[in-house]
Symmetry: C2
Subunit: 145 residues, 2 copies
Protein backbone atom coordinates (compact mmCIF):
# COMPACT_ATOMS: atom_id res chain seq x y z
CA UNK A 1 0.00 0.00 0.00
CA UNK A 2 1.23 3.42 -1.03
CA UNK A 3 2.06 5.44 2.10
CA UNK A 4 0.05 8.44 0.88
CA UNK A 5 -3.10 6.40 0.21
CA UNK A 6 -2.54 4.87 3.63
CA UNK A 7 -2.53 8.40 5.10
CA UNK A 8 -5.79 9.17 3.28
CA UNK A 9 -7.31 5.96 4.67
CA UNK A 10 -6.21 6.93 8.17
CA UNK A 11 -8.00 10.25 7.70
CA UNK A 12 -11.14 8.38 6.60
CA UNK A 13 -10.93 6.10 9.63
CA UNK A 14 -10.47 9.08 11.93
CA UNK A 15 -13.60 10.65 10.43
CA UNK A 16 -15.53 7.44 11.06
CA UNK A 17 -14.32 7.37 14.66
CA UNK A 18 -15.63 10.92 15.06
CA UNK A 19 -19.09 9.81 13.90
CA UNK A 20 -18.53 11.20 10.43
CA UNK A 21 -18.48 10.06 6.82
CA UNK A 22 -15.34 7.94 6.20
CA UNK A 23 -13.65 9.70 3.30
CA UNK A 24 -10.11 11.02 3.57
CA UNK A 25 -7.65 12.83 1.36
CA UNK A 26 -4.09 14.09 1.28
CA UNK A 27 -2.34 16.50 -1.06
CA UNK A 28 1.30 15.66 -1.75
CA UNK A 29 3.88 18.09 -3.08
CA UNK A 30 7.26 16.66 -4.06
CA UNK A 31 6.89 13.68 -1.77
CA UNK A 32 5.63 15.63 1.25
CA UNK A 33 2.03 15.90 2.53
CA UNK A 34 1.09 19.61 2.49
CA UNK A 35 -2.59 19.13 3.36
CA UNK A 36 -4.65 16.30 4.80
CA UNK A 37 -8.26 16.05 5.80
CA UNK A 38 -11.50 14.13 6.00
CA UNK A 39 -15.17 14.72 5.46
CA UNK A 40 -16.58 16.94 8.24
CA UNK A 41 -20.26 17.16 7.31
CA UNK A 42 -21.31 15.74 10.67
CA UNK A 43 -18.48 17.10 12.82
CA UNK A 44 -18.76 20.72 11.62
CA UNK A 45 -22.27 20.73 10.15
CA UNK A 46 -20.52 21.52 6.88
CA UNK A 47 -21.90 21.18 3.36
CA UNK A 48 -18.53 21.91 1.75
CA UNK A 49 -15.98 20.02 3.86
CA UNK A 50 -15.72 16.88 1.81
CA UNK A 51 -12.47 15.02 2.40
CA UNK A 52 -10.69 16.57 -0.56
CA UNK A 53 -11.97 20.06 0.28
CA UNK A 54 -10.77 19.64 3.86
CA UNK A 55 -7.32 18.69 2.55
CA UNK A 56 -7.27 21.81 0.33
CA UNK A 57 -8.38 23.96 3.27
CA UNK A 58 -5.80 22.49 5.60
CA UNK A 59 -3.05 22.98 2.99
CA UNK A 60 -3.75 26.71 3.32
CA UNK A 61 -3.06 29.31 0.66
CA UNK A 62 -0.54 27.90 -1.77
CA UNK A 63 0.95 29.46 -4.89
CA UNK A 64 -0.36 28.09 -8.19
CA UNK A 65 3.02 26.48 -8.87
CA UNK A 66 2.70 24.20 -5.84
CA UNK A 67 -0.75 22.89 -6.81
CA UNK A 68 0.51 22.23 -10.32
CA UNK A 69 3.27 20.00 -8.97
CA UNK A 70 1.02 18.14 -6.52
CA UNK A 71 -0.79 14.82 -6.43
CA UNK A 72 -4.13 14.49 -4.65
CA UNK A 73 -5.00 11.19 -2.99
CA UNK A 74 -8.59 10.47 -2.02
CA UNK A 75 -10.19 7.30 -0.69
CA UNK A 76 -13.28 7.78 -2.90
CA UNK A 77 -13.90 8.97 -6.46
CA UNK A 78 -14.20 12.79 -6.25
CA UNK A 79 -17.64 14.38 -6.61
CA UNK A 80 -18.36 17.40 -8.83
CA UNK A 81 -17.38 19.91 -6.11
CA UNK A 82 -14.06 18.28 -5.27
CA UNK A 83 -13.31 17.66 -8.95
CA UNK A 84 -14.00 21.35 -9.55
CA UNK A 85 -11.48 22.29 -6.87
CA UNK A 86 -8.95 19.97 -8.51
CA UNK A 87 -9.55 21.73 -11.85
CA UNK A 88 -9.50 25.23 -10.32
CA UNK A 89 -6.08 24.68 -8.84
CA UNK A 90 -4.69 22.65 -11.71
CA UNK A 91 -3.82 19.51 -9.76
CA UNK A 92 -2.35 17.30 -12.50
CA UNK A 93 -2.79 13.85 -10.93
CA UNK A 94 -5.40 12.22 -8.71
CA UNK A 95 -5.09 8.81 -7.09
CA UNK A 96 -8.50 7.38 -6.19
CA UNK A 97 -8.97 4.64 -3.59
CA UNK A 98 -12.08 3.26 -5.23
CA UNK A 99 -15.02 4.15 -7.48
CA UNK A 100 -17.20 1.09 -6.95
CA UNK A 101 -19.49 2.62 -4.33
CA UNK A 102 -19.61 6.07 -5.97
CA UNK A 103 -18.37 7.23 -9.36
CA UNK A 104 -17.58 10.93 -9.32
CA UNK A 105 -16.42 13.21 -12.11
CA UNK A 106 -13.45 11.17 -13.29
CA UNK A 107 -14.46 11.56 -16.94
CA UNK A 108 -14.59 15.35 -16.60
CA UNK A 109 -11.18 15.38 -14.93
CA UNK A 110 -9.66 13.24 -17.68
CA UNK A 111 -11.27 15.39 -20.39
CA UNK A 112 -9.40 18.36 -18.90
CA UNK A 113 -6.07 16.56 -18.87
CA UNK A 114 -5.94 15.33 -15.28
CA UNK A 115 -4.36 11.89 -14.83
CA UNK A 116 -6.73 9.77 -12.73
CA UNK A 117 -5.65 6.42 -11.34
CA UNK A 118 -8.13 4.16 -9.52
CA UNK A 119 -6.77 1.56 -7.11
CA UNK A 120 -10.01 -0.29 -6.20
CA UNK A 121 -8.54 -0.74 -2.76
CA UNK A 122 -10.44 -3.25 -0.62
CA UNK A 123 -10.12 -1.19 2.58
CA UNK A 124 -11.58 1.88 0.87
CA UNK A 125 -14.42 -0.15 -0.64
CA UNK A 126 -15.30 -1.78 2.67
CA UNK A 127 -15.26 1.53 4.54
CA UNK A 128 -17.84 3.01 2.18
CA UNK A 129 -19.93 -0.15 1.73
CA UNK A 130 -20.36 -0.49 5.50
CA UNK A 131 -21.03 3.21 5.93
CA UNK A 132 -23.63 3.41 3.15
CA UNK A 133 -25.39 0.31 4.52
CA UNK A 134 -25.46 1.80 8.04
CA UNK A 135 -26.23 5.46 7.29
CA UNK A 136 -27.83 5.70 3.83
CA UNK A 137 -29.62 8.98 4.62
CA UNK A 138 -26.37 10.66 5.65
CA UNK A 139 -24.58 9.40 2.58
CA UNK A 140 -27.36 10.61 0.29
CA UNK A 141 -27.23 14.03 1.91
CA UNK A 142 -23.49 14.21 1.26
CA UNK A 143 -23.93 13.62 -2.47
CA UNK A 144 -27.01 15.84 -2.81
CA UNK A 145 -29.50 13.00 -3.23
Amino acid sequence: MDAFMQAAIEEAQQGLAEGGIPIGSVIVHKGRIIGRGHNRRVQQGSAIRHGEMDAFENAGRQPARVYRESVLYTTLSPCAMCSGAILLYGIPKVIVGENRTFLGEEALLRSRGVAVEVLQDETCIRLMQDFIANRPELWNEDIGE
Copy 2:
Protein backbone atom coordinates in the same frame (compact mmCIF):
# COMPACT_ATOMS: atom_id res chain seq x y z
CA MET B 1 -31.80 45.87 -9.25
CA ASP B 2 -33.01 42.50 -8.02
CA ALA B 3 -32.98 42.49 -4.21
CA PHE B 4 -31.10 39.17 -4.12
CA MET B 5 -28.32 40.35 -6.43
CA GLN B 6 -28.19 43.47 -4.29
CA ALA B 7 -27.65 41.25 -1.24
CA ALA B 8 -24.83 39.43 -3.07
CA ILE B 9 -23.25 42.78 -3.94
CA GLU B 10 -23.46 43.87 -0.30
CA GLU B 11 -21.61 40.67 0.63
CA ALA B 12 -18.93 41.49 -1.96
CA GLN B 13 -18.61 45.04 -0.60
CA GLN B 14 -18.35 43.71 2.94
CA GLY B 15 -15.55 41.40 1.81
CA LEU B 16 -13.72 44.33 0.23
CA ALA B 17 -14.10 46.37 3.43
CA GLU B 18 -12.51 43.47 5.32
CA GLY B 19 -9.49 43.60 3.00
CA GLY B 20 -10.70 40.63 1.00
CA ILE B 21 -11.65 39.71 -2.55
CA PRO B 22 -14.96 41.38 -3.47
CA ILE B 23 -17.15 38.48 -4.55
CA GLY B 24 -20.45 37.74 -2.83
CA SER B 25 -23.22 35.19 -3.14
CA VAL B 26 -26.62 34.31 -1.74
CA ILE B 27 -28.68 31.13 -2.01
CA VAL B 28 -32.43 31.75 -2.20
CA HIS B 29 -35.10 29.16 -1.45
CA LYS B 30 -38.69 30.07 -2.23
CA GLY B 31 -38.03 33.78 -1.98
CA ARG B 32 -35.96 33.62 1.21
CA ILE B 33 -32.18 33.82 1.61
CA ILE B 34 -31.03 30.59 3.30
CA GLY B 35 -27.30 31.21 2.95
CA ARG B 36 -25.16 34.23 2.17
CA GLY B 37 -21.42 34.74 2.06
CA HIS B 38 -18.36 36.27 0.50
CA ASN B 39 -14.86 35.25 -0.47
CA ARG B 40 -12.73 34.72 2.65
CA ARG B 41 -9.34 33.82 1.18
CA VAL B 42 -7.67 36.72 2.96
CA GLN B 43 -9.83 36.87 6.07
CA GLN B 44 -9.61 33.15 6.91
CA GLY B 45 -6.53 32.15 4.93
CA SER B 46 -8.89 29.87 3.04
CA ALA B 47 -8.37 28.23 -0.34
CA ILE B 48 -11.96 26.97 -0.52
CA ARG B 49 -14.07 29.84 0.80
CA HIS B 50 -15.01 31.46 -2.47
CA GLY B 51 -18.15 33.57 -2.22
CA GLU B 52 -20.46 30.82 -3.44
CA MET B 53 -18.78 28.20 -1.20
CA ASP B 54 -19.18 30.52 1.78
CA ALA B 55 -22.89 30.86 0.99
CA PHE B 56 -23.22 27.05 0.81
CA GLU B 57 -21.36 26.70 4.10
CA ASN B 58 -23.45 29.34 5.82
CA ALA B 59 -26.67 27.73 4.55
CA GLY B 60 -25.68 24.69 6.60
CA ARG B 61 -26.78 21.13 5.95
CA GLN B 62 -29.88 21.22 3.77
CA PRO B 63 -31.92 18.36 2.36
CA ALA B 64 -31.48 17.69 -1.36
CA ARG B 65 -35.03 18.92 -1.99
CA VAL B 66 -34.18 22.44 -0.78
CA TYR B 67 -31.13 22.81 -3.03
CA ARG B 68 -33.20 21.61 -6.00
CA GLU B 69 -35.70 24.40 -5.42
CA SER B 70 -33.09 27.12 -4.89
CA VAL B 71 -31.51 29.87 -6.96
CA LEU B 72 -27.88 30.86 -6.42
CA TYR B 73 -26.88 34.48 -6.98
CA THR B 74 -23.22 35.36 -7.38
CA THR B 75 -21.57 38.64 -8.29
CA LEU B 76 -19.03 36.88 -10.57
CA SER B 77 -19.14 33.98 -13.00
CA PRO B 78 -18.57 30.81 -10.90
CA CYS B 79 -15.20 29.05 -11.13
CA ALA B 80 -14.80 25.28 -11.53
CA MET B 81 -14.98 24.63 -7.77
CA CYS B 82 -18.12 26.67 -7.19
CA SER B 83 -19.72 25.32 -10.36
CA GLY B 84 -18.95 21.83 -9.08
CA ALA B 85 -20.74 22.59 -5.81
CA ILE B 86 -23.72 23.87 -7.81
CA LEU B 87 -23.77 20.58 -9.77
CA LEU B 88 -23.26 18.42 -6.67
CA TYR B 89 -26.29 19.87 -4.97
CA GLY B 90 -28.43 20.20 -8.08
CA ILE B 91 -29.02 23.95 -7.93
CA PRO B 92 -31.23 24.47 -11.00
CA LYS B 93 -30.66 28.19 -11.60
CA VAL B 94 -27.72 30.57 -11.23
CA ILE B 95 -27.89 34.35 -11.61
CA VAL B 96 -24.44 35.80 -12.39
CA GLY B 97 -23.59 39.46 -11.78
CA GLU B 98 -21.02 39.58 -14.56
CA ASN B 99 -18.61 37.45 -16.59
CA ARG B 100 -16.58 40.20 -18.28
CA THR B 101 -13.66 40.13 -15.83
CA PHE B 102 -13.70 36.33 -15.39
CA LEU B 103 -15.58 33.66 -17.31
CA GLY B 104 -16.11 30.57 -15.16
CA GLU B 105 -17.71 27.25 -15.99
CA GLU B 106 -20.98 28.56 -17.35
CA ALA B 107 -20.82 26.25 -20.37
CA LEU B 108 -20.35 23.19 -18.14
CA LEU B 109 -23.30 24.26 -15.99
CA ARG B 110 -25.53 24.74 -19.01
CA SER B 111 -24.43 21.39 -20.49
CA ARG B 112 -25.73 19.76 -17.28
CA GLY B 113 -29.08 21.52 -17.46
CA VAL B 114 -28.46 24.45 -15.12
CA ALA B 115 -30.13 27.71 -16.19
CA VAL B 116 -27.48 30.46 -16.11
CA GLU B 117 -28.45 34.11 -16.47
CA VAL B 118 -25.77 36.81 -16.73
CA LEU B 119 -26.72 40.37 -15.79
CA GLN B 120 -23.49 42.23 -16.77
CA ASP B 121 -24.17 44.50 -13.81
CA GLU B 122 -22.01 47.63 -13.81
CA THR B 123 -21.47 47.59 -10.03
CA CYS B 124 -20.23 43.99 -10.16
CA ILE B 125 -17.95 44.73 -13.11
CA ARG B 126 -16.45 47.79 -11.44
CA LEU B 127 -15.86 45.97 -8.16
CA MET B 128 -13.78 43.32 -9.91
CA GLN B 129 -12.05 45.63 -12.42
CA ASP B 130 -10.81 47.85 -9.60
CA PHE B 131 -9.81 44.90 -7.45
CA ILE B 132 -7.91 43.11 -10.22
CA ALA B 133 -6.08 46.33 -11.09
CA ASN B 134 -5.13 46.92 -7.45
CA ARG B 135 -4.32 43.37 -6.35
CA PRO B 136 -3.52 41.24 -9.42
CA GLU B 137 -1.38 38.76 -7.44
CA LEU B 138 -4.21 38.07 -4.98
CA TRP B 139 -6.72 37.66 -7.76
CA ASN B 140 -4.47 35.24 -9.63
CA GLU B 141 -4.01 33.20 -6.48
CA ASP B 142 -7.78 32.94 -6.08
CA ILE B 143 -8.23 31.46 -9.54
CA GLY B 144 -5.18 29.21 -9.36
CA GLU B 145 -3.03 31.23 -11.75
